[in-house]
Symmetry: C3
Subunit: 143 residues, 3 copies
């Protein structure tokens, strides 16, 4: 038996959005005690990361790093039909995660102390983003 | 029960090769209705990506980006026993995917509208590449 | 049924540490014959990679590549509370793997001839790192 639900996020444009709480709640609803939780984002210009969740400067530096690595409006990019952030968004997605699997233990994703799960919106404008959560494993017999 | 099959691709050298159709066909053969599909490529100089599948300029720009990031023949690379594309191929593989998991819903990998699955060959010469497809989940009782 | 165990590694600071043998031993203990093996590292400044396992120059060049891509002490990084290697460690982790899934076939992770699994420590000082191994699939009926 596989537990599945769909999560939708309305981003406010480029940036990181923590979704650890929403993922943990989905795992609780699944009634899986021990297993695996899989996330999949259905887009090629937004992605998933596991990132330090305590100090916001980490994600600010990460954003700057990505902006330097694949600059918006770089004239070497041919693909710019949706604007200067179009191709950089695809590159950032490909260098990070479309799919992420985490262990579930005692009804929760067993993340490290400083690990948070984030949606990383790479487009500069707001977008609606869909993520599928799947949970598999040993269920609570009393549930 | 886990469904498994092996796919083999003969690449024509560096470039991206869409394999969405082959993966969807493997999922159909699995008789899994809802579950997860996992791909694994058994190489360290070719990789997997989920990429925008409509406009070929995306993958052309991506190729150029990778060529700039880890240039063939860069004199700072010590490992060049198989040629100037040897070490860049390993770096490109490590920055992208060896392993990819996708949700299966209604007997298909539930990809976003613009998502395609691609094998990215990083060596300049043709190679035979092996990918293992695994499908787990709830099977059709009538199958 | 999901098999699970926890592996702990004491790193000696920045560098790659092969853990293929430890992972294969965990798979053997799981009694899973055919399935999937999932690794998860519970940190944001160390990561997992699948890398060429024969020639150590590959990992030396990879280390140099990462050092150039995200240099220690880069003044553009605001996040340096744990030292000049703090933010580079997070970036290296995000560009590589926190989570890795491999096919299990005939009681072993079915890796390619040149594929090894490595823990990549990104901090310059020694750290204790925790990895959770999960194995799912068809078990040996005689076990």
């Amino acid at each position: 038996m596989i537990y599945r639900e769909s999560l939708t996020f309305e981003t406010r444009g480029r940036g990181t959005y923590e979704l650890t709480r929403q993922v943990q709640q989905a795992v609780e609803r699944s009634t899986v005690v021990r297993g695996l939780c899989h996330l999949f984002i259905h887009h090629t210009s937004a992605s998933l990361i596991v990132c330090e969740n305590a100090d916001p400067t980490v994600r600010r530096d990460l954003e700057q790093f990505a902006a330097n690595l694949a600059p918006d409006g770089d004239p070497s990019f041919e693909h710019d039909s949706e604007g200067p952030d179009d191709m950089p968004a695809h590159i950032r997605s490909i260098l990070t995660l479309t799919s992420l699997t985490m262990p579930v233990e005692s009804r929760r994703c067993d993340l490290g102390t400083w690990q948070g799960v984030f949606l990383w919106e790479h487009r500069t404008t707001p977008h609606r983003r869909r993520i599928t959560v799947s949970v598999v494993g040993d269920e609570d017999e009393k549930a």
